[in-house]
């Protein structure tokens, strides 16, 4: 772009577009009702040009949401061609195959106009507190059990609310006030974003956003391509096993990466067929978690947008765990989806071991509900996220219990106990859980839960359901580093069968423990700096027995 022309320079436009997305996020935090948005940040915001190309995104937000936006833009403009779009329209969709692979994630898009001409859309996505169905059951066999599926529809038509659609949603979800409240917050967020885009176009007298959009996407694309081009050409394959309760054999996730010049193809052939459990991962979400490690390794500083995905090609067999066909159950698709990132990291580790961590116990995130009933018959639902340890990294230990590669927050224990009668006995790091290595894996954490006796209905069981993993196949070490610890779920000390979508029934008086896996170690433990081992011992990250067994460290 020529700064001497009357066109505003990209120096101003690009940061402004990102700032608008950030401000949308702020608007959402201020108006949303649920912890999932405000505390957890299970959301994202962004901007499309008029062709549905993602051109800006907030720096915050869950990585599934952010990684799915580029493909959703294409789905949106296909469903609503530009000539049919009117000011005041609000588009809604949560179809797992068009959006984020899970019914609870609802996408809201609003158009922006300049002098009567469509210039783009503001997009925002939220994980909703409820969407109906079996409330995140770990046993669902088809997506029909997982709540309301909303295809591409107008929630507002030229400013007029679609009351029928609102009525259907309201009648189909639990905690309807909260859910509708969050939906309204999404609409306000969308209108805010559209208005700011319109102001931007007016301020600089731009006919549309295509010129800056092209420049933004091509610079981002160039950054990714330069990063990929640094990696040697070749073919690299990896597989992982995944344990699913109710299915005899572990299921396989397979990936073959081909790097040729500045392009990368990931082929998932060899991945097991889809299953009748809610861990199937629709392709949009799979793609997000193929792209994420690549971005982290190749070009972490560039903002995310459509350009990030252009050098990347994905081939996934239809009807597989990582590209299931409708009506596969997929509510806990992150249990498989995040392992896609692990496969990608493993492959990148073989190509560039100096830039990649060992396996991480934080993949997948253990996201779970505890559903129960109070003595007065009122239902309650606890929603929490828990995280294992990151793998050891070249030059540095892995981070303990961290939202990686996801990037969300937990719900405060005090807030959780204030709102539901589930008591936390502990949430603490597990000593020796990080895989030994020159650079140790990050520690996993243990959560210990029980019902507050007298505050739950007698004789009504409580149900913990969610995503989990690495209960049979622990995170591996890299370059001689050792494995991190297994994940374990137990009730009164009795472990349940390894699974990726636990469904645990328990009663008042029972103690439920979730032990999250530690990260794998990086490098030979014998090479670990003894001062690191000493300070680990002092802090209790490793026990004296662990120091002796893993590092040959004898007490002084």
């Amino acid at each position: 772009m020529n700064a001497a022309s009357n066109q505003p320079s990209l120096d101003i436009i690009w940061p402004r577009l990102i700032a608008i997305a950030d401000e949308m996020a702020t608007t959402m935090f201020r108006t949303a009702f649920s912890h999932d948005v405000v505390e957890v940040h299970d959301m994202s915001t962004g901007l499309y040009d008029d062709r549905g190309n993602l051109i800006a995104q907030t720096w915050l937000g869950a990585t599934g949401h952010t990684g799915v936006m580029p493909v959703y833009g294409q789905n949106l403009v296909e469903a609503f061609p530009p000539e049919t779009v009117k000011p005041g329209d609000v588009f809604i969709c949560n179809d797992p195959w068009l959006c984020n692979g899970q019914t609870a994630d609802v996408f809201i898009t609003t158009p922006a106009f300049h002098e009567g001409r469509l210039i783009g859309f503001a997009i925002n996505t939220v994980h909703h507190v409820d969407i109906g169905g079996r409330k995140g059951s770990g046993l669902s066999e088809e997506v029909y059990e997982e709540g309301l599926i909303i295809p591409q529809l107008r929630l507002y038509d030229a400013g007029v609310p679609n009351e029928m659609l609102f009525a259907i949603i309201r009648r189909n979800v639990r905690f309807a006030e909260k859910m509708i409240g969050d939906l309204r917050a999404q609409i306000a967020t969308g209108w805010f974003g559209s208005r700011e885009m319109e102001r931007l176009a007016a301020e600089f007298g731009m006919e549309d956003l295509r010129d800056p959009a092209e420049e933004i996407m091509s610079r981002t694309e160039a950054g990714m391509r330069a990063g990929i081009a640094e990696l040697p050409d070749g073919e690299y394959s990896e597989t992982m096993e995944m344990e699913i309760d109710g299915i005899e054999e572990p299921q396989t996730l397979a990936m073959k990466v081909t790097i040729k010049g500045d392009e990368l193809t990931a082929d998932l052939a060899g991945t097991s067929p889809q299953v009748r459990r809610p861990v199937n991962c629709p392709i949009n979400y799979t793609r997000a978690y193929v792209a994420l490690p690549l971005k982290m390794v190749c070009d972490p500083l560039m903002p995310n947008n459509q350009g990030t995905y252009r050098p990347l090609h994905l081939v996934a067999p239809e009807g597989s765990l990582l590209n299931p066909t409708f009506p596969a159950a997929c509510f806990w698709r992150l249990a498989a989806g995040m392992l896609v990132s692990e496969l990608m990291f493993r492959i990148l580790a073989r190509i560039a071991p100096d830039r990649v961590p060992a396996d991480s116990g934080s993949m997948p995130t253990w996201q779970f509900y505890v559903n129960g009933v109070r003595p007065n018959g009122e239902a309650f639902a606890l929603h929490q996220h828990a995280f294992g340890g990151m793998g050891g990294r070249p030059g540095e230990d892995g981070l303990a219990s961290i939202s990686f590669p996801y990037n969300v927050r937990d719900v405060s224990i005090e807030w959780s106990e204030m709102e539901t009668p589930i008591i936390y006995e502990a949430r603490e790091l597990i000593p020796d859980s990080g895989g030994a290595g020159e650079f140790r894996g990050g520690l996993g954490q243990e959560l210990v839960l029980r019902a507050h006796e007298g505050h739950v209905a007698e004789g009504k069981p409580l149900v913990l359901s969610g995503s989990a993993g690495r209960m049979r196949f622990p995170p591996q070490g890299l370059l001689g580093g050792q494995s991190g610890s297994f994940g374990v779920i137990s009730v009164n000390g009795e472990p349940i069968a390894p699974t990726s979508s636990p469904e645990v029934r328990f009663n008042a008086g029972d103690i439920v423990s979730l032990k999250l896996p530690g990260g794998g170690g990086h490098g030979d433990p014998a090479k670990r700096d003894t001062s690191r081992t000493r300070s680990d011992l002092e802090a209790g990250y490793v026990t004296p027995a662990g120091a002796r067994d893993d590092y040959g460290h004898e007490p002084a």
Partner: protein
């Protein structure tokens, strides 16, 4: 109290310089001085610097009635990790609250961008077998033997400070208090901080972090204040030392020593206080104070003459301005934004191929290229000089000649050359980008508060503020800008304007349907009593005024609206006010959704003793005569053009003139583009009207 011949003294210790201000209450004379900070013990530099005033006002020492002090000591101690060896007592099972943070990473895509290490290492985080439930009932009490064991361990480790943060202590502090009593008995030499004292608020990570920060800096601040107090007394000052708190009030040195975390924003807050004074004096309902110095810019939206308060402060962000990269300090503080954008901010080309300005700063040393102090990277000041906004022969009161050629070659080499721009185009890009960065942050600050920047009057000060105010306002579609007299050093004066004040927040999470006015009244009375005790002796002739507020939100929503109430709140009235405020903020309101109280707030201020703005005598003519002319860059015409140059000393109330113009005074230069109209008000401030137009 007699005011005859009284003085007020302010001193603001910054990272590089300590600013001094001496105000003669009778004559209205203001003396200003600047000395290098002495980082090892800033009280040394203060005591040396104060000697300078003895030359201009010989006998001010005995007649000084107020010594007000702002310091960045606390924030710096955390940033540089120079605090005490601190231990933390936690509820058993929750030893790692401090380390787990909220499990979030600092940036989304970087693999090595780690959050800062906790201020208390794990071996000094000691679990205690106690437990309180969320309803305040106690499952297990604190046992003496366990505290004894902990003390033994802490003594052996050489612990200098202890923080205590147990689960749900904001509802029932009994277990923490019992631990506090036992620690006072068993380890009286170690400073203790209880979470229920510093922040009786829900959310264990934020409360624990806040408590630890307080413990961590307590021994340091105690020692520093004692040295300063003793030193001032030794020189003959009898006025008690007052410390600027983050909430914009002055506190006693006792408050500062007990709750040093209240000093985190001690330095930056002074500018907001100046903004509030102007808002109150001129009755400006929406005022955006904008303070741009050498390293950072601060902005604060002041509505209805009241300082906005936030509980979301963070200290020592590892990525300097990135949210969640530091330690939360969730006590009430003035809600300001701080941006890494100042005159010294360095311009580079970033990975996106865009010109980026800041947050890296050339600071005072080596400084911008044009200072000739060895700086080689182009800065905002270099760009402003090339654009004709600064006068190379009259900068900082003429004390320093600027090297225009240096700026020119630096900008050409780093920016204009590689980008194929002229030097003026490149310089304008730097000026425009730093304004865009600030505008983005200001928009966010205003959005967070549900406001509209267009309605505000922008009041600009700081060394670089008035240079950038006009073009910044035009980006934000603000139509009125004010530049007060002495704009370059104004924030130090804020110290002399602030009233003694303290505020408290306590969680009281109850549905509005179960609203119990008697209970709330009793809690608020208790809070007011604590505040009265803390402010006792700070009277100085003022009267104590309380402001009460209740944070109300929809049940489940995490953000609340602070509803002002009187000391005897009424349920119906609260619901009505909540509805009004919510609707005003967000444009809608739900009648059908239940609401709850979350926090109770009480603010106590000693009012009546503040410094007032002084009027200037009017001039004889309404016509302002330029002292000269020079070419400068017009943003409106995108070209260099002829600007009038006015000498601020010659401008008198009632005068008016039009842009394009620059106004020069000793400490700052004001830029007005073509289309701007300027009036000088009765206080000598420049009041600039912008034509707000949409470029098309």
């Amino acid at each position: 109290m007699s005011t005859k011949g009284d003085f007020r003294l302010g001193c603001d210790v910054g990272g590089t310089f300590t600013d001094f201000v001496l105000f003669d209450v009778v004559s209205g004379q203001i003396h200003i001085d600047k000395h290098l900070t002495t980082p090892a013990d800033p009280s040394v530099g203060i005591l040396t610097g104060l000697k300078g005033f003895s030359r201009v006002a010989e006998d001010h020492v005995a007649r000084t009635r107020l010594v007000a002090h702002a310091t960045t000591l606390v924030a710096n101690a955390v940033i540089e990790r120079k605090g005490a060896k601190t231990a933390l007592l936690t509820t058993r099972g929750f030893r790692d609250v401090l380390e787990l943070r909220r499990h979030v990473r600092v940036t989304t895509y970087e693999l090595w961008s780690d959050p800062p290490k906790p201020l208390v290492p794990r071996e000094l985080r000691l679990p205690i077998d106690e437990r309180t439930y969320s309803d305040g009932s106690i499952l297990r009490s604190v046992r003496r033997e366990e505290i004894q064991d902990a003390v033994q361990l802490m003594r052996a480790a050489g612990v200098e400070a202890i923080a205590v943060a147990f689960l749900h202590s904001y509802v029932n502090p009994e277990n923490e208090r019992e631990a506090g009593r036992l620690l006072a008995e068993l380890a009286p030499e170690i400073a203790v901080t209880l979470s229920s004292d510093v922040l009786p608020q829900i959310k264990e990570y934020e409360r624990t972090s806040t408590t630890v920060v307080n413990g961590y800096v307590k021994p340091l601040v105690r020692g520093y204040l004692k040295n300063l107090d003793d030193g001032l007394a030794a020189v003959g000052y009898t006025a008690p030392l007052r410390i600027m708190l983050s909430n914009g009030g002055l506190g006693s040195s006792e408050i500062a020593a007990e709750f040093p975390l209240r000093l985190i924003e001690s330095g930056p807050v002074a500018g907001a206080i100046v903004g509030r004074q102007i808002a109150q004096a001129l009755d400006i309902p929406e005022l955006l104070s904008f303070d741009m110095g050498g390293t950072t810019a601060k902005a604060c939206l002041i509505r209805d003459g009241a300082l906005p308060i936030t509980d979301e402060l963070e200290v020592a962000r590892s990525k300097r301005f990135t949210k969640s990269s530091g330690f939360p300090v969730a006590v009430p503080a003035v809600n300001m934004i701080e941006i890494g954008a100042g005159g010294g901010s360095v311009a580079t080309i970033n990975t996106m191929g865009l010109v980026q300005v800041g947050p890296e700063s050339a600071g005072a040393d080596p400084g911008p290229i044009c200072y000739g102090g060895g700086g080689v990277e182009p800065t905002v000041t270099d760009a402003d000089l090339l654009l004709g906004y600064l006068n190379p022969d009259y900068f900082a009161d003429g004390s320093m000649a600027l090297n225009t050629e240096g700026s020119r070659s630096g900008i050409t080499k780093t920016l204009a050359g590689p980008r194929g721009q002229t030097e003026i185009e490149a310089a304008w890009t730097v000026h425009d980008v730093v304004n865009e960065t600030m505008a983005g942050a200001v928009r966010m600050h205003v959005t967070e508060r549900g406001g509209n920047p267009q309605l505000a009057t922008l009041v600009a000060f700081g060394g670089a503020g008035p240079v950038h105010a006009y073009n910044l306002a035009s980006k934000l579609r603000i139509s009125r800008v004010m530049v007060p007299l002495r704009a370059g050093v104004l924030s130090a004066l804020g110290l002399l304007v602030a009233p003694p004040a303290y505020d408290m927040v306590r969680t009281h999470k109850v549905p509005l349907t179960g609203f119990d006015a008697t209970t709330i009244k009793a809690i608020m009375a208790e809070m007011a009593e604590s505040i009265t005790n803390l402010l006792d002796g700070l009277g100085a002739g003022g009267t104590l005024r309380f402001t009460h507020g209740i944070d109300v939100g929809y049940i489940g929503q995490s953000y609340q609206v602070t509803v002002p109430v009187d000391a005897a709140p009424d349920k119906g009235e609260i619901w009505r006010r909540f509805a009004d405020m919510y609707r005003e903020k967000y444009g809608y309101f739900y009648d059908d959704v239940p609401a709850e109280t979350v926090n109770l707030r009480v603010l106590g201020e000693l009012v009546g003793g503040e410094l007032e703005l002084l009027e200037l005598p009017s001039g004889e003519s309404a016509e302002a005569v330029p002292a000269g002319r020079r070419p400068a860059y017009s943003a409106r015409h995108r070209a260099m053009m002829d600007f009038a140059v006015h000498d601020r000393e010659a401008l008198r109330p009632g005068m008016h003139f039009n842009g394009p113009a620059v106004v020069e005074e000793a400490s700052a230069t004001t830029v007005i583009d073509d289309g701007g109209q300027v009036e000088v008000d009765r206080y000598g401030s420049l009041v600039i009207s912008l034509e707000v137009e949409v470029r098309s």
